[in-house]
Amino acid sequence: MILETHDLSIGYTKKTIASRLNLTLQAGELVCLLGQNGAGKSTLIRTLAGMQPPLNGRVLLNGDDVRRLDARALARRLGVVLTERADVGMLSVHDLVALGRYPYTDWMSRLQPEDKRAVNRAIESVGASELAYRPVSELSDGERQKVMIARALAQEPALMILDEPTAFLDLPRRAEIMFLLRDLARESGRAILLSTHDLDLALRTADRVWLLANGTLTDGAPEDLVLSGAFASAFQSEGVSFNISEGAFHVQRPQRTPICLSGDGVTRLWMARALERAGFEVVDSAVDRVEIITQTDSARFRLHYAGVLTEYESIYALIAALRDNSGVVQTS
């Protein structure tokens, strides 16, 4: 057990965000902290990292209260990565990662052999070996976050805490980082806690999820939380619902014209999505009907609408026709 909290209350003097938290983080696990904006994710992160005092209770890192540890000792156990784009002056990747050895080096920051090894390991484990010569300012956002993670790794901490590390990244980069973190946790035996808005990736990569909503924190495997409905209720809001079968959110539309869809396979799945986007609801029986005709290479789409039968070669053409004809305006 790397991190545990005893009866922890977090918040500010005027406002308690959550209380009576008894949490643990084990070695080798990746835990994702999820919750709506304003639920208190950042506050929890900061309190666990010792950056902010708890209102009540204690946070123990490897058995010691994080508020009692001096900065150096704490830095050897805990590495932090924040959301902000750290603009670091003119430093090379290597120098930036080497900063992570701060709690170990002397006043002249001289790197001993084991320091150098730690830095190399860190760079390699995030896959940034080829970037080591380059100035940090020349890197893309994704590469930069990898380097910041490497820096935290160079501290050789038992626990890593990341506050929305993928916030400014595009999807492929976000996926890359999340999978990297999952691998790191497993292979290095570190505990990794991160907060994120990326529900989909979190559900796929986290060993455990902490769901923070309405002052309570629900803790469990992501699948457990989904099936128990905890997810759905945590992200409940007007017009938005969480679809368990798809594992995604749906925006509820007020008026949906019923339409019938026949066909199967992958094409049916995507046709159904297109119809939903256009403001239709796929039902078992309806007056109007879409048919998917599969041929050897491609598919053709037949539309029975308002008594007229027409055929199209692309989903786009069919949907466009539907819109024109039915006067259904897609509200975004």
């Binding site: 950056m51 603009d87 003119m90 120098d95 900063l99 006043w107 150098k116 190399n120």
Partner: protein, 360 residues
């Protein structure tokens, strides 16, 4: 996971660049120092200068005096002051994550000018004997007045620095001190007489020629202490490049480091202002020039480089101000502005450089 070969070619290339730059800067400093001894409004042949430096006598007695009692202390003062201001400016730029910060951003030179203004301007306007006040406005008097003013501001900063959570608060404090002292000085000027106003304005021009041998031990000792303190905080300074939050997470004792940085910077800025007047632009421009040359913000090498380059530029500025061979002496601050202002403008305009240096 074995050793990666990234280390050797990388560090070999990097460190040899740093070494080359430092060596080049050192040689530049030696050249500038030698030139400043050789040039002046009186033309003294080089062989005479060498003879005098070795302890001999020049062809004319006045030449020996000129070289030993004027040019040599002036050159040493310029070199030390230039180094001090550049290092101080670098510290302020890193601590406040502001590429336009200079050594006076905390109001040190404003405090010093208020001290000088009180002594120079008030002793006349209060109707006190015009003449009796004049011993106070000699060299020693001005140095003392400026030191007290600078020290007062340092004390205020020190008291407040222990209480504030955010370093940025100090920046605002420094600005306010600057405005307040500026307005107080204008009031003093309004009630003073032209003669004294001219004396005060002369002080604001800045000069390296005011430190005599008897004052040199104090001056150089304080600067060396300041420079050593600055080097001692190079490690936390590097961490501060990432901002205070990250620095703390990497093990920096932020409060102590901040005090060390502030102490070094204020001492350096204060002693130079006290002995030489408020000399601007070197503190802002030199750190940027060093960053470009070295291609790194690593303070272990940026600090020595800033000291060397600052010393050289100060010597060059002083030589230009003397208009070699001519009789006129230009105000030193005007020359440093002419050198430094283009650098500052270029920093602002090349936004890519700004983003590279700090969070924009």
């Amino acid at each position: 996971m074995g050793e990666i070969t990234l280390e050797r070619p990388y560090s070999a290339g990097v460190w040899s660049r740093r070494r080359t730059v430092l060596i080049a800067l050192s040689m530049g400093l030696v050249a500038a120092f030698a030139a400043s001894l050789a040039l002046g409004s009186v033309s003294i042949p080089l062989n005479n200068i060498v003879t005098i430096l070795m302890g001999g006598e020049g062809a004319r007695a006045s030449w020996t005096t000129i070289v030993m009692n004027f040019r040599l202390p002036k050159a040493i003062t310029a070199a030390l002051a230039g180094a001090a201001l550049s290092v101080s400016g670098l510290l302020m730029q890193t601590l406040f994550r502001n590429p336009l910060a200079d050594p006076y951003v905390l109001g040190i030179s404003s405090g010093a000018s208020l001290g000088v203004a009180l002594v120079v301007l008030v002793t006349a306007s209060a109707g006190v004997s015009l003449f009796s006040g004049l011993t106070l406005v000699g060299d020693v008097g001005l140095i003392t007045a400026a030191s007290i003013g600078a020290a007062a501001v340092m004390a205020i900063i020190a008291i407040i620095a222990r209480r504030v959570r955010h370093t940025m608060t100090l920046l605002i404090l420094g600005l306010m001190i600057g405005y307040m002292t500026g307005s107080l000085v204008s009031i003093l000027i309004h009630f003073s007489i032209p003669d004294r106003i001219q004396t005060y304005i002369n002080w604001t021009f800045g000069t390296f020629g005011g430190v005599t041998w008897s004052q040199m031990p104090l001056f150089s000792a304080v600067i060396l202490i300041g420079l050593l303190t600055a080097y001692w905080v190079a490690k936390p300074l590097n961490a501060f490049l990432l901002g205070e939050t990250y620095a703390r997470s990497m093990g920096v004792d932020v409060r102590r480091a901040r005090i060390g940085i502030l102490a070094a910077s204020s001492i350096l800025a204060g002693v130079v202002t006290a002995f030489c007047g408020p000399i601007g632009f070197l503190g802002v421009a030199v750190p940027h020039l060093c960053r470009i040359l070295l291609r790194t913000s690593d303070h272990r090498v940026a600090l020595p480089a800033a000291a060397l380059m600052g010393a050289s530029l100060a010597l060059i500025a002083d030589m230009i101000a003397q208009v070699p061979g001519g009789q006129v002496i230009l105000p030193l601050n005007a020359i440093t502005a002419l050198i430094g202002a283009p650098v500052v403008v270029w920093v602002i305009l090349s936004r890519r450089n700004l983003r590279e240096s700090f969070s924009a």
